[in-house]
């Protein structure tokens, strides 16, 4: 029943052929081709990158991308924390419903959710009407096609991606540790800031990195809920290609986005220690 080592290796090799072939031809080569175009179009050199980092409108796009990603990350952390906490407190019953809501939101069509926000936030929309009825505002405020719209729409989409890792981290905390602190006389506030929050740090960190990276590369929501002056990097890339046919500049921006993403993701993997294939613990 045992095959010789070399034959076994050969068999494993053949099993990997379809996926490697597919990814090389349709993913890696096109990706490399795109990155190469940033250096070769219109002529060989770094001129696209220089142009990208020296033109003020382009720098505006870059800083916008970072601004949105940072704001969205902070807001989803703040809003995701109580959710994760509640799910950990009540793993059965209500917690299960909360988790259901999060999964439903996560797997509901992105376009459907963005459309919903477009309708909710418009000047004659429910939110403006409600705010006016309560008397908080006198006339409708513009909440779409500007930064507010992008931030609301994107935070809404990113919250689940904070809750899931954070909840996993919280449920691994031994409640006795917190108990011990309070028995020793620490008030709830101290226990929260000195013990609970530091123990949640890995979950917070991986959730934040995940959301930040995803926000950097998001296209649909900013394109629909944002205005022209809120353009982010992904929209800029598509615009350069579809409207201006400027593949060089688009590829340079894409290269920048990829490098940012991969560097961030490297940190994300550093935070997460267990490997899904090598180690056999927890299987």
């Amino acid at each position: 029943m045992y095959m010789t080592l070399s034959r076994k290796k050969w068999r494993e090799g053949t099993l990997l052929i379809p996926i490697l072939l597919f990814l090389c031809v349709f993913f890696l080569i096109p990706l490399a081709g795109l990155l190469l175009r940033s250096l070769t179009e219109p002529s060989f050199g770094l001129q696209n990158f220089e142009q990208l980092l020296a033109t003020s409108t382009y720098v505006q796009v870059l800083s916008n991308t970072f601004l949105v990603a940072t704001l969205v990350t902070v807001i989803s952390l703040v809003l995701g924390f109580p959710l994760a906490w509640c799910i950990t407190l009540m793993p059965n019953g209500w917690g299960r419903w909360l988790l259901g809501v999060i999964l439903l939101s996560m797997w509901t069509s992105l376009l459907a959710r963005t459309y919903s926000w477009l309708v909710l936030l418009q000047t004659s929309g429910v939110i403006n009407k409600t705010l006016m009825a309560i008397g908080i505002i006198d006339e409708p405020i513009t909440m779409v096609h500007n930064l507010t719209g992008v931030i609301i729409g994107m935070s809404y989409i990113m919250i689940p991606f904070v809750v899931l890792p954070l909840q996993a981290c919280m449920s691994a905390i031994d409640p006795m540790v917190l108990q011990a602190a309070s028995i020793c006389g620490a008030p709830a506030r101290t226990v929260f800031f000195r013990i609970f929050l530091p123990l949640c740090k890995p979950g917070l960190f991986s959730g934040a990195l995940m959301v930040f990276v995803m926000s950097l590369g998001y296209y649909v929501t900013p394109a629909l809920l944002g205005g022209v002056e809120n353009m982010m990097l992904p929209e800029f890339i598509v615009q350069q290609i579809q409207t201006f046919l400027n593949w060089g500049l688009a590829s340079a921006s894409a290269a920048l986005l990829i490098i940012l993403t991969i560097v961030m993701f490297y940190f994300y993997l550093k935070v997460q220690t267990d490997s899904p294939v090598s180690t056999n613990t927890g299987a």
């Binding site: 109580p82 894409a254 294939v277």
Partner: protein, 267 residues
């Protein structure tokens, strides 16, 4: 004390519950809102709707463009799901069973399409397919969707394969079965829920894919999200609410199916 309901102060507990309730409502309401609007009579999406009606559903089902794009979506998603699963299955076996070096790197490579921003994959593939004259074909849709769906299939199958006890397969071999026979008759049936869940996720990824599809589409061939996207950019007609409701409904069914498959596999 902060992690057990019993010993939490009631002030803290009640404020936590109220805040969480509000955030959960924030997450759930837009979804219910859109479903409600699809049945509302107002062209201008007034809420609450003055009257309830099915006329937007009629408009949706009367328009061949919506129906055609929905059928294209279904076709692309089914093909994507099947192909992604067929490619992911042998690769998952090699990664879980293999003892060779660099498995971690291969795993990272297989999940890379999940990490690289979709817009970049879209632009890169678009660049190649444009030169080959392949944009606007079923082939372009399926291939580009398989790229982003693969990681979901790989992760799901690898997880179920790691939970499967290999000695059961070995037992079948000792009893005289050929290794392949053992894999097909013993291993596959027991990891079936994982394969099924992977295929469902791949389906859902393809079904919802917007960015790549917008780049691959032509006026003749487009998927439902592309049709929604181009309509959305013109106006917010309630017909989009109908399309959204149908998308939500399908996602819900698939989520429940995937959940059942997972529960079945954990038993």
């Amino acid at each position: 004390m902060l992690l057990s309901q019993g010993s939490m102060g009631w002030k803290l507990k009640s404020s936590l519950y109220v805040i969480t309730g509000a955030i959960a409502a924030f997450l759930a309401l837009p979804i219910f809102f859109i479903v409600a609007l699809s049945f509302g009579s107002s062209r201008w999406l007034v809420f609450p709707p003055p009257k309830w009606t099915l006329k937007w559903y009629e408009k949706f089902f009367e328009n061949p463009q919506w129906i055609d794009s929905a059928m294209t979506s279904l076709q692309v998603a089914l093909l994507t799901s099947v192909i992604a699963t067929l490619i992911a299955l042998p690769a998952s076996f090699a990664l879980v069973r293999g003892k060779f070096k660099g498995r971690d790197y291969l795993y990272s490579l297989f999940t890379l399409p999940m990490i690289v921003p979709v817009v970049i994959i879209a632009v890169a593939v678009y660049g190649v397919f444009l030169n080959l004259g392949l944009t606007g074909t079923l082939f372009a849709f399926v291939v580009s969707h398989v790229i982003v769906a693969l990681p979901f299939a790989v992760i799901s199958i690898i997880n179920s394969l790691r939970l499967f006890d290999k000695s059961i397969e070995d037992a079948a071999v000792i009893c005289g079965a050929h290794r392949l026979q053992a894999i097909f008759k013993v291993t596959f049936p027991s990891i079936k829920p994982g394969i099924f869940a992977g295929a469902l996720f791949a389906f859902l990824v393809s079904w919802d894919e917007v960015v790549i599809s917008v780049m691959m589409a032509s006026p003749e061939l487009q998927t439902l999200p592309v049709k929604m996207w181009s309509t959305l950019r013109q106006d917010l007609t309630p017909v989009i609410a109908v399309a959204s409701t149908l998308l939500i409904f399908l996602s819900l069914i698939i989520m429940v199916m995937a959940g059942l498959a997972r529960r079945y596999s954990n038993r």
